[in-house]
């Protein structure tokens, strides 16, 4: 409990790390911060071309269908893979100065999160242009879904960042795991095409619910199912508590292992 209070006291540090990361990300490039928007936009162009002309699907406005799931997924997978090396990357700070170590994965995930929020501006514009439009009531659920995903991503990032300090291979293993995870989550296809016997596995995957919720709100314009939201929230909380406890235990020897 004391640690939580302390993490709150260090909010300015989290803030300044996030700012440094966002500022530094496109530093030196001509378009600079604009890349935050151009990048998802160009991705969208590629998907539209591929799935309209090369690999047409029977899902209406598939580019949008894919896009509203893919952006949240990118946030989630970046939090896990990038988050895993976040502690190792800050080893100079950790070896020499005290601060609650949780600050590092928190600020890493937060900066990915802010990036996703900025990409959502592009999503909103695309939704508007495509003529799908918004359901204001459903839109109110969006912050809740984002929060659930944030909690989930943070829990995973804490786990992966702490374990990577002791076991550096994890960073590379996670690349494969997140790829497999992506295909095991209905992002590029609909859950309805999944064989019946695999459905329980899909339901255990918290990201299935999260992605479906996003899609409900932004693609189907409907209020997401409460049960799926609640169950993913519960799973997210479980991961966060687990991640926090493991992190708390492992962080004691960070300074020696790095």
């Amino acid at each position: 409990m004391n640690t939580l209070r302390e993490i709150y006291d260090y909010r300015q540090m989290i803030f300044s790390l996030v700012r440094k990361d966002l500022r530094g990300r496109y530093k030196g490039s001509v378009l600079g911060f604009l890349w935050t928007f151009i990048n998802p936009l160009l991705q969208l162009v590629v998907y539209t071309v591929v799935f309209s002309y090369i690999l047409p699907t029977n899902i209406d406005k598939y580019y949008l269908y894919l896009f509203v799931g893919l952006i949240p997924w990118i946030f989630f997978s970046a939090s896990i893979t990038g988050g895993s090396s976040s502690i190792v990357a800050q080893k100079d700070l950790i070896k020499k100065i005290y601060f609650p170590r949780q600050v590092i994965p928190i600020s890493y995930v937060t900066s990915c999160f802010v990036n996703m929020l900025l990409s959502f501006i592009v999503i909103f514009i695309v939704v508007l242009i495509s003529g799908v439009g918004f359901n204001p009531l459903a839109l109110l659920c969006l912050p809740v879904i984002m929060l659930v995903e944030y909690i989930l991503a943070l829990g995973m990032a804490m786990l992966s960042s702490a374990i990577t300090v002791y076991f550096r291979d994890l960073e590379h293993i996670l690349g494969i795991i997140t790829m497999a995870w992506m295909y095991m989550t209905p992002i590029m296809y609909d859950k309805s095409i999944v064989p019946q016997q695999l459905i329980p596995i899909f339901n255990l995957n918290p990201m299935t619910h999260v992605i479906e919720c996003y899609r409900d709100v932004l693609y189907y314009k409907q209020i997401p199912e409460l049960t799926s939201l609640v169950s993913s929230f519960a799973l997210g909380l479980l991961f966060l508590v687990l991640g926090y406890l493991v992190f708390q235990k492992l962080q004691k020897h960070f300074a020696e292992e790095l």
């Binding site: 300015q12 803030f15 300044s16 440094k20 700070l93 020499k96 020897h253 300074a255 020696e256």
Partner: protein, 431 residues
């Protein structure tokens, strides 16, 4: 507030490090090369307990690797003890690493925010301190320039200003009072005294015993992972320096022994070669870079001791102490007009004092058997530092019999804080 409240309570703390011979943290390495994961465990702290009262200042002393810096790292919670417990009351700030998180492209002002945030300050708290920090750093004109344009001195000044302005209840300091020029150092030092006067608890690790003596009420001497002695800095520091002096003597003695052996072996070899080859080969002078000893050799200095006022041999003295140098010599051949002399040099080669029996108008001595001469330095007023002493025996015409350069080394310590080479007796009269 109870005056005797405990701010830091360290109970029976141990800490060991694993030192890997060849560390593999990858899966393949761990599985394939199990042998590579062999490591050695080194006990750095073997059970340390001490308490620091609120508002007290304590200095940790000890030679390199004794565990004092590890103790400090445990206090800041960068590392955790293997066993035992540490309780700290209040906000802890550490001046261990200065300028953590400084970004060269950001301005001084922005870096103040980043750096102070790492110490756990919120934006509001930083806003409140900003002016104090800038003022203390004396960098008003440059504060909006990127830090990469700063000189290293300016950089450290900014970093120190941030660290010292974090109002902490407990301040931990590791060897950092060497920041900037002499003026800034004095300023930091005064600030530290001010902070202490305000009731902040301070723990310092430093090699500068003078600084410890000026700030701390107590020294804790850590030796090989245990507390060896604890008490008022004046006593403990002296004890510690005595010990270090002895260690130094031992190591130099060993080195000299080794050197003598080597030289003897070389001489033998050379002699062997000489007899084999040209018998008339010129005797080669020893190719010494720094010749430390020369003279006719009719008499040889064989032993030197520095005695304190009460006749104890030691190497560390306080400024103002009485020191007697006792030099024993052997005579090979009678010298009928011997003159004895000494010279005292500082580390950077400045001759602080030199005299001999002729200068002091003593008649020449006739020495024909082994003996001892003594010179009593009634009041050794040299200021803290290491001093090298030359000892010489000359004959009346000024030709050295045995000139021994850097024959002996003493260390002066003092808590007074006056500066220069030597203390000049003085009094003040303010009208």
């Amino acid at each position: 507030m109870v005056r005797n409240e405990i701010a830091i309570d360290v109970k029976n703390v141990t800490k060991k490090f694993k030192i890997y011979y060849d560390k593999g943290s990858q899966l393949k390495e761990r599985l394939l090369f199990r042998k590579r994961n062999r490591y050695e465990e080194r006990m750095v702290l073997r059970g340390i307990s001490f308490q620091v009262k609120k508002g007290e200042a304590v200095g940790l002393i000890g030679h390199n690797g004794c565990g004092k810096s590890t103790t400090l790292k445990l206090l800041t919670k960068i590392m955790y003890p293997d066993s035992g417990s540490i309780t700290m009351k209040g906000r802890v700030s550490s001046l261990i690493e200065l300028g953590a998180g400084f970004h060269p492209d950001m301005s001084g002002r922005e870096n103040i925010y980043t750096n102070a945030a790492i110490f756990g300050l919120t934006k509001k708290e930083i806003d409140r301190r900003l002016n104090d920090i800038i003022e203390f750093s004396e960098l008003e004109q440059f504060i909006d320039n990127p830090v990469r344009t700063y000189s290293s001195g300016m950089y450290m000044r900014l970093a120190f200003s941030v660290a010292i302005n974090v109002d902490a209840d407990i301040l931990l300091i590791d060897e950092i009072l060497g920041v900037g020029d002499a003026n800034f150092q004095a300023k930091c030092f005064n600030k530290l005294k001010e902070i202490k006067a305000n009731g902040t608890t301070i723990v310092i690790v430093s090699h500068s015993l003078g600084q410890i003596e000026q700030i701390c009420e107590r020294s804790i001497w850590i030796h090989e992972g245990l507390i060896r002695a604890e008490g008022p800095p004046k006593e403990i520091d002296l004890e510690y320096l005595e010990y270090m002096g002895m260690k130094l003597q031992e190591t130099t003695a060993k080195e000299l022994e080794k050197k003598a052996e080597r030289e003897a072996a070389e001489a033998q070899e050379a002699a062997a070669q000489e007899t084999n080859n040209a018998p008339e080969a010129p005797v080669q002078e020893e190719p010494e870079e720094v010749k430390k000893r020369w003279g006719s050799g009719k008499a040889r200095i064989t032993g030197i001791r520095a005695l304190s006022g009460d006749g104890k041999a030691q190497r560390v003295f306080r400024t103002g102490d009485r020191i007697t140098l006792e030099v024993s010599y052997k005579v090979k051949e009678k010298v009928s007009d011997a003159v004895f002399g000494i010279g005292i040099f500082s580390r950077d080669g400045i001759q602080c004092y030199g005299t001999n029996t002729r200068i002091d108008k003593l008649s020449e001595f006739s020495i024909d058997k082994d003996g001892v001469f003594e010179i009593a330095l009634e009041e050794m007023n040299l200021l803290p530092g290491e001093y090298l002493i030359d000892i010489a025996i000359e004959s009346g015409d000024g030709i050295p019999v045995d000139y021994f350069r850097e024959a002996y080394k003493i260390e002066m310590i003092s808590a007074a804080g006056d500066v220069g080479i030597t203390r000049i007796k003085h009094s003040w009269n303010i009208r």
